[in-house]
Amino acid sequence: MKAQNRHIHPASFRDPAGFVFTQDGVVYRQVNPHYAEDYRHLMESGLYDELAKRGLLIQHTEVPPDDWDDPQAHAVLLPEQLRFISYPYEWCFSQLKDAAIVSLEAQTTALQYGMILKDCNAHNVQFHNGKPVLVDTLSFAGYKPGDPWDGYRQFCQHFLVPLSLMSRRDQRLQGLLALFPDGIPLALGSRLLPPSTWLSFNFLTHIHFHAKMEVMAGRRQLSNRRLRSSLSEDSLTALSTGLLRLVKSLEPRSSASAWSGYAMDCPYSERSLEHKAQIVSEAVGRIGPHMVWDLGANEGRYSRIATQAGAFAVSIDGDPEVIESNYRQAVDSGDANLLPLVCDLRNPWPSLGWANQERASLLERGPADMVLALALVHHLVIGSNIPIAKVAHLMGSLCTHLLVEFVPKHDPKIVSMLSNREDIFPDYHLAGFKAAFGEYFSFLRADQVVDTDRTIFLLERKP
């Protein structure tokens, strides 16, 4: 493993303890000498084994020293490889809540082994086998009696404030995490939360009072040196367990969004739904994809067909409420190959962070082996005025195989969509659809869904 052949991850530069790099498509984590003592403690105290056993920390093996040649490295770790990287602003309420719980449980466990979670960044959590897991093995530092928890503010900004806003205001506020790389500022969270939260001890102390104290400390230029008071281990445990209780008590605010219940309202009979599921199942079985993106997935009915066929499915929808329902179903059924994510396809998540390189855009994380675009194209073309040629172009950049549904203009759904507006879509017809998608794809198969005039096409990307 030559140091010059590795590609250091563009987001892995803040912590001097080590960094993440890829080599030949495999992700590794280097441990620097700076972290050697803490790493030894993590591995020898039994903390790593405990965290790994409970699924709180990603498991790794150590690469033998003979296999790497960087003299600056104390160790090189080969962690379990993740199927798909996702970011906190793409998660629904329960995904962020589960990630917060994992972080707090790791913190309370670490304290029992003489260590502490030195940072509490939501980006340190990823979904692996359907569950959130800490992926930053170097986040644990030796705990010295009396030390405060340096990650407390980060926990509040990355987890508590967004969860509180999604619980007390609106689930769509998870998107604010994309604007603030180090979590939603406490002062902003305090201003956005409803006045009733001032009456709650937890919201009052961890958010409102916390925000005021930040401002006061900044104005008076208080030094941390004078404030690093002696906190007993029991006090820190009480703080962490108190936060854990608070996070567990939060529930998402529900508000019957436009897409929740959409599956119930759709103009499909039971027979046509079953036929559609059969078409999807046959197409997935024929292609045998490893990675499927289900765009406009709603509650993930067809994503599940893909995972049952052995694929890993990223189930994407712009509505956090349907992704919430999708995720809860995945957790209840123990589906380890399903990752529901919030993303509006009309405005997909861009590249973010320093030099726009820390967080990859949605499209940069492709292409997928197969995309499902079922009952989606007419919403993009007629609902959002996106020309069908542009839709076909985007699909062509996302996948090698595409399963796409064409809904004709006389379908009750489109009649309803056009009932209050001018029809400015002369090119939206089957011939126009075939011409647009034929530019990028070859048509492998077409199936008309029984009891409807809708057709599902299986396409293959042209070389």
């Binding site: 990650g151 407390y152 104290m213 941390n224 040196r225 008071s229 007993s232 703080l239």
Partner: protein
Amino acid sequence: MTRRARFSRGYHLLTLIASPRRLLFSYLDPGSGSLLVQAIVAFILTLGVVTRRFWRGLFSRGSRDDRKREEDESSE
């Protein structure tokens, strides 16, 4: 647990006194306001724990005394 041990345990839990000590900073700025809030919240939560333990200890001792008295009476 003796009264002395209970007192020292309580004192330990309530030790939130700012004192000059070894300073070790992490790579992350925890924020001065956050350190203050953390100390205050931890103090309040710890106070709750100590109070609960005190009351639990009081009642369990009370019930132990009651049981002992009942046993003495029955043996007489």
